[in-house]
């Protein structure tokens, strides 16, 4: 009762918001809070992008999947033992334990080991490693890339980045059949541009894409073959000598009959 009476005669703390506004320090961000969606589920996926962006490293978090919802805690996640996945741990700068990284591979990685052995597990020979893996499997399996990343110490993102940049490396099995059109200056003068337009129209595809009704792909030829005519179109390494910019339409129609799936 004494407290009530004391407070009663003190000045009022209430601010008539929004007519009057309290004096807030310019750097005050209020209470940090996670956003929820309309059903009340937390939208945070513990992707760590905010933690990474935070310049003074005051944000950290952890999360577990409980009945389809993520329960997110503030603070170092290790104390809850709940980092969710390998990539999240990598992004937050934690080392990944071997148990998390070592997964059973569904393919035989013998060829990968041989390729790694040849260059002494040196990540600077990444192109040679990837090329010999592709020679062995016909494409680059994801398990092989993971194994390469773990054995050489190169980040998976860098292995993947190298593999996606160079056009002769592929992630798709069975991409061995191609219709390649040369786009050197000579071929362009001889009408390669019109041939490309005709072929992509007749095959219903875009230049550089697979042809929907077959296992062929319409793409650019890396380099003009010696003694080959212009415009040069190559199917599976075989130059097509009877094609010119004038008969491209009928040629494409004949081809459609031969390769229909």
């Amino acid at each position: 009762m004494a407290l009530t009476l004391t407070r009663f005669f003190q000045p009022k703390k209430t601010v008539m918001y929004p007519e009057a506004k309290p004096d807030i320090p310019p750097r005050n961000r209020g209470r940090l809070e996670l956003v929820t969606d309309e059903r009340g589920t937390l939208k945070c996926e513990t992707c760590f992008q905010c933690a990474q962006a935070c310049p003074i490293e005051c944000i950290d978090m952890g999360g577990v999947d409980t009945k389809g919802r993520y329960a997110v805690h503030w603070g170092p996640a290790e104390q809850y033992a709940e980092r969710r996945e390998e990539s999240a741990m990598r992004r937050s700068g934690r080392t990944v334990s071997d148990a998390a990284a070592a997964q059973e591979s569904s393919i035989d990685l013998g060829a990968v080991e041989a390729a790694l052995e040849r260059v002494d597990y040196d990540p600077h020979h990444m192109l040679q490693i990837l090329e010999s893996v592709q020679r062995a499997y016909g494409y680059l399996p994801v398990d092989a890339l993971k194994r390469i990343s773990r054995a050489t110490g190169a980040w998976y993102a860098m292995v993947y980045g190298t593999a996606t940049f160079y056009k002769h490396l592929t992630f798709e099995p069975g991409r061995n059949r191609t219709i390649a059109v040369c786009r050197c200056a000579n071929c362009l003068v001889a009408g390669a541009g019109r041939v490309i337009n005709t072929l992509s129209f007749e095959f219903g595809t875009e230049f550089g894409q697979a042809i929907p009704w077959s296992n062929l792909r319409l793409e650019a030829l890396a380099t003009h073959l010696p003694d080959a005519p212009s415009p040069l179109v190559v199917i599976d390494g075989e130059p097509q000598r009877e094609l010119s910019s004038r008969n491209a339409e009928s040629w494409a129609a004949a081809l459609a009959g031969r390769y229909a799936a």
């Binding site: 600077h124 192109l127 940049f165 050197c184 200056a185 000579n186 362009l188 003068v189």
Partner: protein
């Protein structure tokens, strides 16, 4: 292009003279990089040698980016010895113990020729752990590369050699201070390196006598298109374009040449009236909007539509862009689309202006020569063949969107 008369004598001379003196000889000779940059080769080596580092590298660039250009392949096949000797001299002058030759994997004959030269030199004790008894070590490795036409750019070549994604780096710092694995690296085109043994054997003064005094020496040009004798020629720098065309036999029978495309897919069109007055040299070509580039000359005859060819070339450049800078990834594609609108007769009244503004932005933001030069075919086409971009009866500015009726 002729192999050295007395193999490895230039290497002995360079070892006796020392790295600094060799670099000075090349500066006196005025040898400039043949890869397009046009830096003084001796200056480059001197920077590499003087950069503070525990190890240095030397790299020969034999990766020809442009499709169907064979000048360097021919050079390596005919004169693998000169290239390897030049690279060995470069490596010893800058203090490198390891050197690489980056070459297109498709050039199997050239790769075999290089590997044979390196293997026999190692067997004879010329290369290897003890270079001609000097106690210095030099290992040369031939690295076949493929998969992207950007590898011809020097910083991309270094990335590809290190097994990374092939995207260029901002320069400076140049590879001569930060190169392969972050170490100082001398990167030279094979055509530059092939000239080095000749200079050391015949003297800097003799080299200065050849060609344009500002950038002396000879260059390889590949002439193709509608000429009587297509092929690769070795000409002194500064030779007028008309003379090169005459050596190649002039126009093919029945054809009238209306322009030369100088410098490959990102080169510039030079119209016939300028051929006699334009010398084939870096400075001379720059004034007409072209460049030496890969050394390709394409004779374009009257049957070819310049806008169509220019748009297709720009499209090729856009497809080959590595995507590191956004003006290159998206801007070049828009350039190709604007060019295509001119081809289809759908160009709006502002498209010419838009093309020039976008081309200026693309060139200004360039990390590497690919982006800087991509607008050249469209720009030079616009400059010299305006009537083909704007056929008669189409308004150039103002009014409704103009369309070609036929």
């Amino acid at each position: 292009m002729t192999p050295p008369a007395t193999p490895w004598s230039a290497l002995h001379a360079a070892l006796a003279a020392g790295g600094a003196a060799t670099a000075q000889t090349l500066i006196d000779a005025g040898l400039r990089g043949r890869g397009g940059g046009g830096f003084l080769t001796g200056e480059k080596w001197r920077t590499t040698a003087s950069s503070e580092s525990d190890r240095r590298y030397a790299v020969a660039n034999a990766y020809e980016s442009d499709p169907a250009v064979f000048a360097n392949r021919l050079l390596v096949e005919k004169n693998a010895l000169g290239v390897v000797e030049g690279l060995a001299i470069a490596a010893l002058s800058v203090g490198a113990r390891e050197a690489f030759i980056g070459i297109r994997a498709e050039y199997s004959d050239a790769i075999r020729a290089l590997e044979a030269v390196v293997a026999s030199a190692e067997r004879d004790g010329i290369l290897g752990p003890n270079v001609v008894g000097s106690g210095r070590e030099l290992l040369i490795r031939v690295v076949p590369l493929q998969g992207s036409s950007m590898i011809g750019e020097e910083t991309v070549l270094l990335k590809a050699l290190a097994g990374k994604r092939g995207q260029p780096e901002q320069t400076p710092p140049y590879p001569s201070s930060v190169g392969y694995l972050g170490k100082p690296t001398a990167v030279n085109n094979v055509a530059t390196l092939a000239a080095v043994p000749w200079i050391l054997s015949n003297g800097a003064a003799a080299f200065r006598q050849i060609g344009d005094p500002a950038e002396p020496g000879t260059v390889l040009v590949q002439v193709s298109g509608s000429v009587a004798n297509a092929g690769v020629l070795e000409v002194p720098t500064g030779t007028p374009l008309a003379e090169i065309l005459a050596v190649a036999g002039g126009a093919a029978s029945g054809a009238t040449i209306k322009a030369l495309l100088v410098g490959g897919p990102s080169g510039g069109f030079v119209p016939t009236q300028l051929l006699a007055s334009t010398p084939y040299s870096g400075a001379g070509l720059a004034t007409v909007g072209a460049h030496i580039g890969s050394g390709a000359l394409l004779a374009v005859d009257g049957s070819v539509s310049i806008p169509e060819l220019a748009a297709m070339l720009t499209r090729w450049c856009a497809d080959e862009a590595c995507g590191k800078t956004i003006p290159c990834r998206i801007g070049t594609r828009r350039l190709a689309e604007i060019g295509q609108r001119f081809v289809d007769g759908l160009a709006g009244p502002d498209d010419g202006e838009r093309l020039h503004a976008l081309a200026a932005d693309v060139a200004d933001s360039a990390l590497c020569a690919h982006e800087r030069l991509t607008p050249s075919p469209l720009l030079t086409g616009m400059r010299y063949f305006k009537q083909e971009f704007y056929p008669a009866g189409v308004a150039q500015s103002g009014g409704a969107v103009a369309g070609r009726s036929s």
